[in-house]
Symmetry: C2
Subunit: 428 residues, 2 copies
């Protein structure tokens, strides 16, 4: 396997080996917001690379992309622009690079501990799907024990529009929302702090090139419009959700905050981890033709492990390490990213560069692989035990949730996503 002259990229533990090269937006005490590339324990200043002439003579559009404060312009240039950029990054960072090139590039590296990360893109619209059959079934069982899955589920990649303004970066504190809730036996609802606060473990993907309003995107072209992936925590107030969601879906139960990880792992980096789409059983209906293709069935999935870790305030005070609550995999999603995207644009809805689509809670078949507390504790009926003796039905103030994601296989470096962290602070 190719290695890098940046030694921390080769330790077998890093999320960011030479084969990953995810993109993000960083600043330092001296540099304003700009595109960076993660490599081991460092961030490479892409704008600096361009300004030092290390990226050749890019087109005017790419010059604008390389010097921008967000990834939107680079995203709009599409994967055809991302691929040669990736190749050039590899040339500059691989162990075999000439020593004068290493010297030049080395001056443009910043220690990860000294940079501040920012949202990778101006997110115009944010859409959240519901692509895990296990999640939909588990949640459905809590509400409709005899009929957990609605009739449309295996035909329609169900999704809804989320809130773009309240998407925050990993590390931001999340204030417990207030809202209307109504106990089943109460006559009236009350307004106050949510008591059933939850996380949702999700994978998100950013749109690269968009589509014109009124034109769809065929399933076999869908991935041309996906720039890369990040981790998403779709914080959810279950008590607010239960009372408000009929008939128009979740609203204030979700839009108080959504946390994403800072690094966008490109589709190119994920190529070695593509797997068949979720296998349909003989009882499952035929996928409608606009969502179906041999290519999608054969390699539309992504073998991406996703984990949830929790650290309570008391655990931190007692110097206890975070505890892993669950471990799932994006390959367990019933719908692939391509299917979600093609469905989204199938009515002519225009997607724009930098738009974020998320998978919905990623849950697997076992209790150890469910992506939210609602499922794990069966709406609080079966609390979980934390190291140090605490119990959790839902999140308490001071709880920190850490999402991690990585692709791993024998003989290939780990392609990691970094972390997506958020700590709950008390309601106003």
């Amino acid at each position: 396997m190719e290695t890098s002259w940046v030694e921390s990229a080769n330790d077998g533990l890093t999320d960011f080996p030479l084969q990953n090269l995810p993109l993000g937006i960083f600043s330092t005490a001296d540099l304003d917001r700009r595109i960076g590339v993660a490599i081991g324990d460092y961030v490479l200043d892409l704008r600096g690379c361009f300004e030092q002439g290390l990226l050749g003579s890019p087109s005017a559009a790419l010059q604008k992309a390389y010097t921008s404060h967000t990834l939107n312009i680079l995203m709009s240039a599409g994967r055809k622009a991302a691929k040669p950029l990736r190749a050039r990054m590899k040339e500059m960072l691989r162990a075999e690079a000439a020593s004068d090139l290493c010297d030049e590039v080395g001056k443009l590296l910043h220690s990860s501990s000294e940079v501040t990360m920012h949202l990778p893109a101006d997110i115009g619209d944010y859409t959240d799907f519901y692509a895990s059959l296990y999640h939909a079934t588990n949640v459905g069982k809590l509400f409709r024990p005899d009929n957990p899955l609605l009739p449309n589920y295996k035909y329609v990649p169900i999704g809804y529009h989320g809130r773009a303004s309240s998407i925050v970066l990993s590390g931001a504190q999340v204030k417990r929302p207030r809202g209307q809730t109504k106990a089943p036996d109460a006559e009236h609802p009350v307004f106050g702090a949510s008591r059933l606060l939850d996380y949702e473990l999700e994978a998100g993907f950013f749109i690269s090139e968009g589509n014109q309003l009124g034109t769809g995107i065929p399933i076999d072209k869908a991935e041309d419009h996906i720039f890369g992936l990040c981790l998403v925590n779709d914080w959810s107030a279950r008590d607010i959700q239960a009372w408000e969601y009929q008939p128009l879906g979740p609203f204030l139960a979700k839009n108080f905050a959504t946390t994403i990880s800072p690094w966008v792992v490109t589709m190119e980096a994920l190529e070695p981890f593509r797997v068949p789409a979720f296998e349909r059983s003989a009882d499952d209906p035929q996928t409608l033709p606009y969502l179906d293709s041999a290519n999608n069935s054969q390699q539309g999935g992504i073998d991406l492990t996703l984990e949830v870790w929790l650290s309570s305030q008391r655990m931190r005070e007692a110097k206890l390490d975070p505890v892993r609550l669950s471990k799932g995999n994006a390959r367990d999603l019933y719908w692939t990213p391509a299917q979600m995207l093609t469905h989204h644009a199938s009515n002519g809805c225009n997607l724009r560069p930098g738009d974020l689509l998320a998978s919905g809670t990623v849950s697997g078949p076992s209790k150890e692989s469910v992506g939210c507390l609602l499922e794990m504790t069966r709406r609080g009926a079966e609390p979980i035990e934390l190291p140090g003796g605490e119990q959790r039905r839902f999140l308490e103030d001071g709880d920190e949730i850490i999402l991690r994601g990585y692709c791993q296989r024998e003989g290939y470096p780990r392609i990691g996503f970094g972390e997506c962290r958020g700590t709950i602070i008390p309601a106003s």
Copy 2:
């Protein structure tokens, strides 16, 4: 009543008398996008006014607002900035203005027929409410005859996130969407052009100053955050909606296009038309305290007449005038704009300048005042007759829908909203 030296502003028929002065974004063959003010049959170039020194010596922030390509910066400056600007506009345009001022201002007027209008703001997030009790009841009856209104309705201003990217300006053609639909007796859904295409008559309002993530907006401060209103047509594909909307709400049934009118009628212009909020009956539950205030009850409503007109292709060919399908009033909404806004931010969700909130379909108690065909034809069961002999259950290709809105009362000039037009073109 004060009149203007722009004579077409005084004819009693115009939407844009001196008392209105709505703001929008226009361009001409020679001028790029900029803020304009509608007066009679003309548009006044606000940027030009600033550049000619007619707006005094504004702050740096206001200079940026006046020379911007959208209204967002002016909106962010809040109503405290909009009020003196309005006063100055009146000074410049009133009949009593000095003749040299009229000469200067006159050079900055453009005939409405020679300008191109654009979206008034970069709309970050678009939220659609469901604030008409009549609409919710009528639609509920079609689905649940015995229990039309859900238990949360009179407590929660129900809303959901719509799509910002597909908001288009009045005049844009609207392509009939394709999507999954399933006939009640069919075994499987099919993918194809929607056959139950509908309009929804709504009032929209733009956010002025925003709020920080994590902080709410008290009900008596809510209107400080509302810049002004426009007309909204929330096009809806009823067959797609029926199949997709459980459990997360409408998605592709709505996000293929939303049409808005170009002029933003400010809250200042609407002041003379403020009315009490929708009167609660003795059986209605007490409004929760965070949504309740004496001020809101006494004058939280707006006496705004809203009309839907239709012109079919055949009607146009036969030189028949558009026909009015319905006439409703925003005062019939169960929830006021202030209540919708305060509810939206009550969980800490951050609203940003230029965000658009819409009321949901405005329907009144009579069949003549319902704001969509779903209600008017009872889901197609009772088609309506058009001039020339056609029938309509839902919209046909070539149908043009024109929304109009105005505030009117004895002894005061009509405050109009202009038009919100869209014509259906065939599916791909």
